[in-house]
């Protein structure tokens, strides 16, 4: 009863009400060793591991040349940085803006993307601004995918697709890109294709959506018109949605063209097209992305938004809008960042390909994106001190390479589901949106490595 008396001393005049509940029955000693129930919700069961957390930590050592995570170490264009600086000085832009997207930004996005679609785009009803393209993927999946639905995911896949689909209680159905034999010529991302029959076999009445990523991470494939038509035909036949992740849409190299599946007949009404400021303007840290689609789909992503983060940061959205206006006005100009960046990156791509070849590797030349994957088993690296780990080969290789060669990359089996990790376990992904000095440092490492081998 002592505890009850102590408690009552702290109470104010409403003690008479509280006495009724502080009976000995209810008053227990607060135990610090109290065990909590099963704490986490089932939706996140098994989704706690994440390749990036592990490998970003590994590559954080400043002596390591980091070609792993897909972030540019080049500066964003000057006018983009300047716009943000100017905007930060404007008072009203420090307060909340429209939840579904800052008005000037959705207007700019509508104006830009209308150039690619046959229809006009309603900035308020057919566009949603999200926390990066990642946020758009989340809103689309949470908004449209239900427990029991099936979602087709093309392997290798940007690693968040699988856990997001599982978190929504749905079942991912995987189909791998397969490569034709390529003796006598350079291995290209276009050599990796989907088998049309195999793809058709993955669709059924439970298929709610297919997630498409073009240009593709990690292979760099830019889907052709014919390939997209096959996917579109199946989507229409099975009344399936298409979530099209097009974050690398501007990064296509000579001889290739980025096509939007939403512009194919019958596809606008069933497609969410996702874009990224981070990848468009080399500002991944701004975490702004967008979803574009018909209102009968976008409105559900908007419902998710108003129940998750409500609105995105205002100053960043305004700065992005202004940066867009600059480049929208000069789409045919080589100075337009949408044109100049892929030109700059194509040079870096070719340099990286050459370096990897000099090491004796067979890299897959990407038609788009800013990654290259290469089969590293040809190096026959001595991974004996990693033998205790039961991780896939490429995980062990990347850790070995980071430790011994001070060069980091990302294992491609991280982009595969558990059952098929072995299919891609010899491949490692290198990011080439890096400044020249980074690529120089990578070159030094590779040259030394080559000398050591011979």
């Amino acid at each position: 009863m002592f505890l009850a008396q102590r408690r009552l001393c702290f109470l104010d005049s409403r003690a008479k009400f509280l006495k009724t509940i502080y009976s000995s029955k209810i008053l227990g000693l607060p135990t610090s060793a109290m065990s909590l129930k099963i704490i986490n919700a089932k939706r996140i069961e098994g989704l706690d591991s994440n390749v990036w957390t592990e490998f970003t930590k590994l590559a954080a050592d400043p002596s390591v040349v980091n070609l792993g995570q897909g972030l540019p170490d080049i500066s964003p264009p000057i006018y983009v940085k300047e716009k943000l600086s100017e905007i930060a000085a404007i008072d009203s832009l420090n307060q909340y803006t429209r939840g579904f997207g800052h008005p000037s930004l959705v207007k700019a996005l509508a104006c830009l993307y209308e150039k690619f679609y046959q229809n006009q785009i309603n900035p308020n009803k057919e566009i949603l601004v999200t926390v990066g393209a990642y946020g758009s993927l989340f809103n689309a999946i949470e908004g449209l995918i239900d427990e029991g639905d099936e979602v087709i995911i093309i392997m290798p896949f940007y690693d968040c697709y699988e856990p997001m689909v599982r978190m929504a209680g749905a079942t991912p159905v995987f189909i791998p890109l397969r490569s034709k034999p390529v003796d006598g010529k350079k291995w290209s991302s276009s050599d990796w294709t989907l088998d049309p029959q195999e793809l058709a076999s993955k669709f059924n009445s439970k298929t709610k959506a297919i997630i498409l990523n073009t240009p593709h991470n990690p292979i760099g494939k830019v889907y052709s018109k014919e390939e997209l038509q096959i996917i579109a035909d199946l989507c229409i036949k099975y009344d399936t949605l298409c979530i099209s992740d097009e974050v690398y849409e501007w990064l296509v190299y000579t001889g290739n063209k980025h096509l939007k599946i939403a512009t194919f007949p019958g596809m606008w009404e069933r497609t969410i097209t996702i874009g990224s400021a981070g990848k468009t303007f080399s500002v991944t840290g701004w975490k702004l992305g967008w979803s574009i689609g018909p209102n009968h789909l976008i409105k559900h992503l908007q419902t998710v938004q108003q129940n998750t983060i409500y609105t995105c940061a205002t100053p960043l959205q305004e700065a992005l809008a202004q940066a867009f206006w600059i480049d929208i006005k000069r789409m045919d100009d080589p100075e337009c960042y949408f044109n100049s960046l892929p030109k700059e990156l194509e040079v870096k791509r070719d340099r990286m390909i050459h370096l990897l070849e000099s090491l004796g590797l067979k890299p897959i030349v990407p038609d788009g994106g800013y990654f290259i994957i290469a089969d590293v088993s040809l190096l026959d690296a001595d991974l004996s001190d990693m033998k205790d780990s039961n991780e896939p080969y490429d995980y062990k290789f990347v850790k070995w390479m980071t430790k011994n060669k001070k060069l980091s990359a990302i294992p491609v089996s991280a982009f595969c589901n558990a059952e098929t990790k072995l299919q891609f376990e010899k491949f490692v992904r290198f990011c080439f949106i890096k400044k020249d000095s980074t690529l120089d440092a990578a070159e030094e490492i590779i040259k030394a490595w080559t000398r050591q081998k011979s």
Binding site: R7, F10, F17, T31, N40, I44, N94, G285, P315
Partner: protein, 424 residues
């Protein structure tokens, strides 16, 4: 498309009352005291901190650590560690989110499962209910009730209380969490230590997690003290404490918030984060880190923004309380937060038939009438109540007083006109 489109988790949560009132407020010439954001700028040091983040290292334009920009998690850990008298590890006990709104969402998704019950104290910040529903949870409401006030006396938010027996009866074996908001939006109640101890003992007894939304923690008036329930004995291990840079530094548009708590809970929030937004924007976080450095240096002193802002808002609150009375609105004096609610019962009895839909609560019809006819925008308080209880609390309007002096003067002008119209 023939297939059913929205996922079932969106059932019943698509309606958004803010859109309607926000739209109306922008269409008419009004003094907008509706949505809760300051119409004055953030303090100079915060604006400078943002400028610094933008003009500094260009790598701040790229991704940072997913769970929080390290200098920010470090300063949050040390700043709040002192306040909560708790050892806080910046990597394990701190998560940076997209506003406090994002922290709430992350917490609900991480911890609330299908069939779990979540106790929500009414009136509540309106997102708690749909977030509970989206997580498959079942909201259980318990209402703060005002005791009758003396004639001619103004009601006070402190006068609104939970009935302890009623509160205890809401806990069942299915109760997973209780969401607490102190200082409270919309009422402005600052829960006393005794009231928090009551909540704490029930949470411990029933093994329930406490999600404590403390975004207005610095905005307390009349000498009231904000108490974080996580600082009470036995509560750190079962509490998530949520905060907001937007409300702390009058920069709601930066959308930087955080959750603090034990690793046993935080690890689940991290899982949700890495599968939802993953990273938060870097530069906003750098600006907030710098702003907290400033506050840490000036903590408790007259030069601290966390001292100056509540002092200034205290005056604004008093101004608004005085002004509203001139037209027969009866404000409930808040102890904290950005808001007060005003009783419109007199209007309800004098003008019961304002235009509106058949089932529309009186306060919604009143606010629309007020926007159209009196040039003043507020928010009907019934939106902060569960559907079944809305009819009992349809006689209050919420006003935000965290506004510039010029806005309060504009309010006075509108009220003067209104008062003139009341004369026969």
């Amino acid at each position: 498309m023939a297939k059913r489109l929205p996922a079932r988790r969106l059932d019943g949560i698509d309606h958004n009352p803010w859109v309607e009132f926000g739209k109306m407020a922008s269409e008419y010439d009004v003094v907008n005291l509706g949505q809760g954001f300051p119409d004055f700028p953030p303090p100079d040091f915060a604006v400078q901190a943002f400028q610094l983040a933008l003009s500094g290292d260009f790598m701040l334009n790229q991704y940072t650590r997913a769970f929080g920009y390290p200098p920010l998690t470090k300063i949050l850990a040390s700043f709040f560690g002192k306040l909560l008298e708790q050892e806080i590890d910046p990597l394990k006990n701190v998560l940076v989110t997209v506003g406090a709104y994002g922290a709430l969402f992350t917490a609900f998704q991480a911890l609330v499962d299908e069939g779990d019950e979540v106790i929500i104290i009414e009136p509540f910040f309106d997102c708690y209910e749909p977030m509970t529903l989206m997580a498959g949870g079942h909201p259980v409401f318990v209402t703060l009730k005002p005791s009758p006030t003396g004639d001619g006396e103004l009601d006070s938010a402190g006068n609104w209380r939970l009935d302890p027996t009623e509160l205890a009866s809401k806990f069942t074996s299915r109760t997973k969490a209780l969401i607490l908001n102190t200082p409270n939006n919309p009422l402005g109640k600052v829960f006393s230590k005794a009231e928090l101890e009551l909540v704490a003992s029930l949470c411990q007894q029933h093994d329930v997690i406490c999600i404590s939304d403390e975004v207005y923690q610095w905005l307390v008036y009349d000498g009231h003290q904000h108490v974080s329930i996580a600082s009470l004995p036995g509560m750190w291990e079962r509490t998530l404490t949520i905060g907001s840079a937007g409300k702390s530094f009058s920069a709601t548009g930066w959308k930087v918030g955080w959750a603090l708590g034990p690793d046993s809970l935080m690890k689940h929030l991290r899982t949700v984060q890495q599968n939802s937004v993953y990273h938060c924007p870097t530069q906003g976080q750098a600006a907030v880190a710098q702003s907290f450095q400033h506050e840490q240096l000036h903590f408790g002193q007259p030069s601290s923004y966390f001292v100056q802002l509540p002092q200034a808002m205290w005056r604004s609150r008093d101004h608004m309380v005085r002004s509203l009375q001139s037209v027969g609105l009866r404000p409930v004096v808040p102890q904290g937060s950005y808001f007060l609610i005003a009783d419109i019962s007199d209007f309800k009895s004098k003008m019961p038939d304002l235009p509106g839909d058949v089932d529309e609560p009186y306060d919604k019809r009143f606010v629309k009438w007020m926007i159209r006819n009196k040039g003043l925008a507020g928010i009907p308080v019934s939106i902060f109540y569960s559907r079944p209880h809305q009819k009992h609390f349809d006689h209050y309007v919420r006003f935000c007083f965290v506004k510039d002096e010029s806005t309060l003067q504009a309010l006075d002008e509108k009220l003067q006109k209104w008062k003139d119209e009341l004369r026969p």
